[in-house]
């Protein structure tokens, strides 16, 4: 029993090393004075300094940030609507198709989504003269993908909410719309927040859809990184990686700590209530 537990522990450690090795490598390398991997030139911040002059990367970052923010908002909006539809209405015409379409982007290879959406947009452009490929088209593609994820997150939370809560609200005088805003929404707000962050990250990181749907002047940061990475090792990419890792780590750790603390407080309160009866 003991040996099996330590074996499990070893396996977990191995997997964690596997998961974190690349990240740690990039962070370390970003401080390497030498641009080559083969030699260690000492600790240096020169690449960080160089990044501040890297117009291409900065422009790409700005664009990606804007698209990601908008994508997160539109994905969450559409995803919540879809989740509510699926949760509240167990039977309606076209439900099977709806479910299929909502789930498919989760697994569909991005090259297919990208190509098909692009071909549609080009056909529309030939007929109506717009839209031009660029910001809006990338946003559209990202929303399509993000909506699928948002629906899953919000729907699973909706299914946890007891139906008697909505009935109680109606019993006490709430009309259906009021029930949503006063009772349902406060209970799913955390899931909506998670969905927002999830779709934001997905959009910020996306290469394939952006590549298919971008136009001249709308090069996102991942596209820039991708073209540089194709060519080989690039110190600028290492730097971007280190910064990303730092930001994400701080955010994730902070969020987890806050959530854990809130959960602990809740548990203490519940225990106190039961003791006092």
């Amino acid at each position: 029993m003991k040996s099996r537990q330590s074996l499990a522990g070893v396996w977990m450690a191995v997997v964690f090393v596997f998961l974190y090795l690349p990240i740690v490598t990039l962070v370390v390398l970003s401080f390497n004075a030498s641009p080559m991997v083969t030699s260690w030139g000492g600790w240096s911040l020169r690449w960080y300094e160089a990044l501040t002059h890297d117009q291409e990367m900065i422009a790409g970052f700005r664009l990606s940030l804007a698209i990601a923010t908008l994508t997160a908002c539109s994905s969450v909006l559409l995803g919540t609507l879809a989740a509510l539809s699926l949760h509240r209405f167990k039977r309606f015409r076209g439900r099977t198709l709806f479910v299929g379409m909502v789930n498919a982007p989760l697994v569909m290879p991005e090259v297919i989504i990208g190509l098909s959406l692009l071909l549609l947009l080009v056909s529309v452009q030939r007929l109506f003269g717009f839209p031009e490929r660029g910001f809006a088209t990338i946003w559209l593609g990202h929303t399509l993908l993000g909506m699928a994820y948002a629906t899953v997150v919000v729907l699973s939370r909706l299914q946890e909410v007891s139906p008697s809560l909505e009935e109680a609200a109606q019993d006490l005088g709430c009309r259906p719309l009021q029930v949503f805003f006063l009772v349902t929404l406060p209970l799913i707000v955390q899931a909506i927040g998670s969905a927002w962050l999830l779709t934001f990250t997905l959009s910020l990181d996306d290469v394939v859809l952006s590549a298919f749907l971008s136009g001249p002047g709308s090069t996102t940061m991942p596209i820039t990184i991708f073209s540089r990475a194709r060519l080989g090792v690039s110190p600028s990419v290492n730097t971007v990686a280190a910064i990303t890792v730092a930001v994400v780590s701080v955010a994730v750790v902070a969020a987890s700590v806050l959530m854990a603390r809130a959960q602990r407080r809740r548990d203490q309160e519940m225990a106190a209530a039961y003791r006092l009866g």
Binding site: L19, F98, P109, V111, L119, F226
Partner: protein, 298 residues
């Protein structure tokens, strides 16, 4: 408007908005793709399938691309290879992720959120950057080779980069959270007293595992497998950065046809066949999702 009628219109709007969005930007594009796959490429733009001239409607459908696909061994081999790599990746992910998810599910409940957070953290950092990192690690002059050389374990750098090995490693690395999470979700919900009952009735821990735990986690396994296998078939970025000449996958082919050759009908054809290939697992995944929704929401 009566309350009932208002409710009905409200429902239509609620369902209608996302439905319209999906029909327009998900379903319709597929129809366009199919149409273009049977069109003729005319320099930059494709010729319309339907033409109206002199009061006559002509339907010009060109299945030549499909014939090329089927006849050219290269394409067939690429499809097969993509399915193979995707399957291998999914299988390896399963083998690695299962013990891992199991350990997290069985660890004390206070520690689980922290462990999950540690698993998800790499996922929140850009996957593109992490794939790029493997390039650095696996290159001939990369970190691994340097370490091995320095330690004197090898005389010459091992070729790890641009090989099937690096490709599968990269894909496993990227898709493993998609396998860990559904497995964890299923395993953590499992009733431990079932295992205790099995042990009480004389089963060894190994037997209890294979006969009770694994069958009960079937849903997680299927969900995880689909979540890895299907997107891997059409994966582009990882083969591009970490793969080599032996690892040509269909996502690359599509990209090259479109961006390289500017042959939109061909790219469209490749896409259509790819969708047909994954339609069975896709349908399975869909059915599985619907069933788990029904079970959860019932």
């Amino acid at each position: 408007m009566s309350a009932n009628a208002l409710a009905r219109w409200g429902a239509r709007a609620l369902i209608g908005a996302p439905m319209l969005f999906l029909l327009s930007f998900f379903l319709l594009p597929f129809l366009v793709v199919f149409k273009i796959s049977v069109s003729e490429m005319d320099t930059v733009f494709f010729r319309d399938v339907l033409t109206w001239a002199d009061g006559l409607i002509t339907l010009k459908v060109n299945f030549a691309n499909y014939f090329i696909l089927v006849e050219d061994g290269l394409y067939l081999a690429t499809y097969a290879r993509s399915l193979g790599y995707a399957g291998a990746t999914a299988l390896i992910c399963l083998l690695i992720a299962y013990p891992f998810a199991y350990c997290i599910a069985r660890s004390p409940s206070e520690r689980r959120p922290a462990l999950l957070m540690m698993v998800m953290l790499p996922f929140w950092t850009s996957f593109l950057l992490r794939i790029y990192a493997w390039k650095i690690l696996l290159a001939d002059s990369g970190v691994f080779n340097q370490m091995l050389l320095a330690l004197g374990l090898i005389a010459e750098p091992i070729k790890m980069m641009n090989t099937p090995f690096s490709l599968v490693l990269g894909m496993v690395y990227c898709y493993i959270p998609f396998m860990i999470l559904p497995l964890y979700a299923t395993l953590v919900k499992m009733d431990l007293s079932l295992l205790e009952a099995a042990l009480d009735l004389g089963a060894t821990p190994a037997q209890a595992f294979w006969r009770i735990t694994v069958p009960l986690s079937k849903n997680g396994i299927i969900a995880g497998f689909m979540l890895v296998f299907i997107p891997c078939v059409g994966e582009f970025v990882i083969p591009e950065l970490l793969g080599g000449p032996q690892t040509l996958m269909i996502g690359r082919v599509l990209w090259d046809e479109f961006f390289g050759n500017n042959d939109w009908p061909m790219a469209a054809t490749v896409a259509v066949v790819m969708v047909l290939l994954i339609i069975v697992p896709l349908a399975l995944f869909n059915k599985h999702q619907a069933e788990s929704h029904a079970r959860a929401g019932a």
